[in-house]
Amino acid sequence: MSDTTQSGPVLAADGTPLKRSLARALRMQKLRALMLVAPLLLFILLTFILPIADMLFRSVENRIVADTLPKTVVALQGWDANSGEAPDEAVYAALAADLIVAVEAKTHTRLGTRLNYEMTGISSLFRKSGRKVKKWDIAEDAPFKEKFVKIDKDWADPEVWRTIQTYSPKYTNGYFLNSIDMQKGVDGAEARPENQQIYITLFQRTMFMSLVITFSCIVLGYPVAWILANLPARSANLLMILVLLPFWTSLLVRTSAWKVMLQQQGVINDVLVWLGLVADDARLVMINNQFGTIVAMTHILLPFMILPMYSVMQTINPSYLRAAKSLGATNWTAFWRVYFPQSVPGIGAGSILVFILAIGYYITPEIVGGTKGVFISNRIAYHISSSLNWGLAAALGAILLVVVLILYWAYDKIVGIDNVKLG
């Protein structure tokens, strides 16, 4: 050994370095392995990695302004937004030229929709102007400033021009600022008016409620997993079916069932009133609030907690508990000092699973969440399918992704990611 370390790299029989020789021998093997995973790799690339990359890209992408109004953007560069006055004729002429082209391509309304996210009213301003500009001729109808102001006096409003100028770069942090209740003001980033601040609250609430849901899953799931792991195989299988039973019904049905259970004229309230525990006119409010969301989501996510805990507990040899007891530990000490620490990897895996599923949930909060139980994902869904503000949705999603990664990193630091087992 010692002579090879001194005389440089080890050589194979034919004189090539052993490392290279080995690499060559392994290449075929690696290639074959790669071919085997290639379909999955391609699938993940197409359906997971690319969409995420696209989402991250959309959250900063803002070409639409410069693409639709190329001349105007250039002409606006010299204009001082703080002057308090509308830009001069050159800018209006550029706008007219751009709009004539845009109207032809029907892209001006799309731009209006985009800028309307930043300043209310621009949408109709562009739509209205588009109809008139269609009939103009760039060579003969100059000057344009008055003509635009005649269409709508908003064209004389420096705020409109400031918005166009602010959002003319091809990339913007505007969506991200919006995601954290800020906006691009005259002097850079500033807080949004208080009556529009919502996302920070929702992020905090999503985190808090997901933690509560994770915690209740641990509390409810641990004993079940323990029983499952310690029952004889036949009864364990039966109980396992009960645990998995919720998976056999649709998510919507389960959530709606909770509605029937928890509402004021629902089963639980009826029983409580019948038992005389609650007065008929003071029925408990258990749904359309945080409580209802936590109950329904805990129920839905419980199997994701029980399964990893169960599979970890199954590997814990019962002789550990016996050993602890033979050494003089009471049942509780034996559990707490010996069994519980060994089941922590299962709790960790279950918690990560449940927590990450919970912060991305939106169907259940939408149905039973009322106003105080909705999650950030509900807003993301709203911006994807209703307001069509995909840039904002992408920014919110990107923040959520970062938060998850940070939590994952923190978990790794505190508990250690190798301390997570699925069985």
Binding site: L50, D54, T107, N116, G121, Q264
Partner: protein, 366 residues
């Protein structure tokens, strides 16, 4: 950009995989809302059209996400839908984004039996260049007759009167309509509502009025919620689409009655997606020409209590196909019901939707 296209393609194939081969045969995919509404269209339009032409019609129930999905399909360059049923506001947005085909009413739609051109027959309901109106529906209130004592509510402001009508109310989880009703009941004249709502102070005022009943409101997001809440006795009154209330009252015989005051008309109709192949576009136009003629629109009212969008169809509205009851009194447009109505303000909400929605949601979360 290539990246975007690729992912959009992946996303849209994932979303619309079942329809990916629609173009192959002599068939077309028609998108609508599902439930009783789709059934009424199937009976009044699809079946006769299929019998007449032999085209196979595939139903898709994606209208709620139509705008988002059409945008995704368009980005991917693979539009799989032929005709899409959307509300007027969505039609306008699709038109704005260049995602819907512009229609010339007089040449591409059927004239009335008496020769009145389609543009006149539909009249002011042609709110967008891309939109072919089909029905008029209204968002209005229903209430539990057994929970309001001897004086049933007859005024929109009874919704805000917690003393006379204690109990929960169901309102839609969005600012549209709610803000207008709040202002109307806070002393703003009907013709000034949008002038007030344009201003910060007006928005504050509307939210302040809603604040007085906030604790008693269950917010809905699906049209089926309010009928269920009314049937369960969870709410004393609630807003929803009039057709939904009709089925609670007449089909399920629940103790529920209509409060037509201050109902807001809205339109639902067809658009044809932009970017179809000429062959598919011709087929879609042929279907639209057939399905929106005077008789067809009147036929639909046999199956659901929404008013036909053509003036010429109104006299032809008959009895419900199964229940045998006269449908005219259940139409939101019936003179007895339409004493105090307004039409959805598309222009206003196109501009203010994002802004007011942000404030509304922030207020809700408080």
């Amino acid at each position: 950009m290539k990246l975007t296209k690729l992912t959009a393609l992946a996303a849209s194939t994932a979303l619309c995989a079942p329809m990916a081969f629609a173009e192959m045969a002599n068939e077309m995919t028609i998108v609508s809302w599902g439930g009783a509404y789709s059934n009424s269209q199937m009976k009044a339009y699809h079946e006769p059209y299929a019998a007449k032409t032999g085209v196979k019609i595939i139903n898709d129930e994606s209208s709620a996400e139509a705008v988002a999905k059409l945008r995704a399909m368009n980005e991917a360059g693979n539009v799989t839908w032929d005709v899409v049923d959307v509300v007027a506001a969505d039609a306008m947005r699709l038109c704005d984004e260049g995602l819907a085909l512009e229609i010339d009413a007089d040449t591409q739609l059927a004239a009335a039996p008496d020769g009145t051109p389609a543009s006149e027959d539909f009249g002011e309901l042609l709110v967008s260049d891309c939109f072919i109106p089909q029905i008029v529906y209204s968002t209005t209130f229903g209430y539990r007759t057994d929970m309001v004592g001897d004086t049933p509510p007859d005024d929109i402001c009874d919704v805000f009167d917690l003393e006379a009508y204690p109990g929960k109310r169901a309102l839609e989880k969005r600012p549209i309509n709610n803000m207008e009703w709040a202002l109307l009941c806070d002393g703003v004249a009907k013709d000034e509502v949008y002038d007030v709502l344009e201003t910060e102070a007006g928005q504050e005022q509307a939210l302040a009025k809603l604040d007085t009943i906030k604790d008693s409101v269950i917010w809905w997001s699906a049209g089926a919620d309010t009928p269920q809440l009314l049937a369960d006795g969870e709410v004393v009154m609630g807003s929803t689409y009039n057709g939904r209330l009709f089925s609670v009252i007449e089909e399920q015989k629940q103790p529920v009655a209509m409060l037509w005051d201050a109902q807001v008309f809205d339109l639902d109709g067809w658009i044809i997606p932009a970017g179809l192949s000429p062959e598919r576009q011709a087929r879609a136009l042929d279907y639209i020409m057939f399905a929106t003629d005077t008789q067809r629109l009147a036929d639909q009212a046999k199956f659901i209590s929404y008013g036909p969008a053509r003036a010429s169809s109104a006299p032809l509205v008959g009895k419900h196909a199964d229940l045998g009851i006269d449908m005219a009194p259940h139409m939101p447009t019936d003179p007895n019901n339409a004493k105090n109505t307004s039409l959805f303000n598309y222009e206003f909400w196109a501009d203010y939707r994002d802004d007011i929605d942000a404030k509304f949601q922030a207020w809700l979360a408080k």
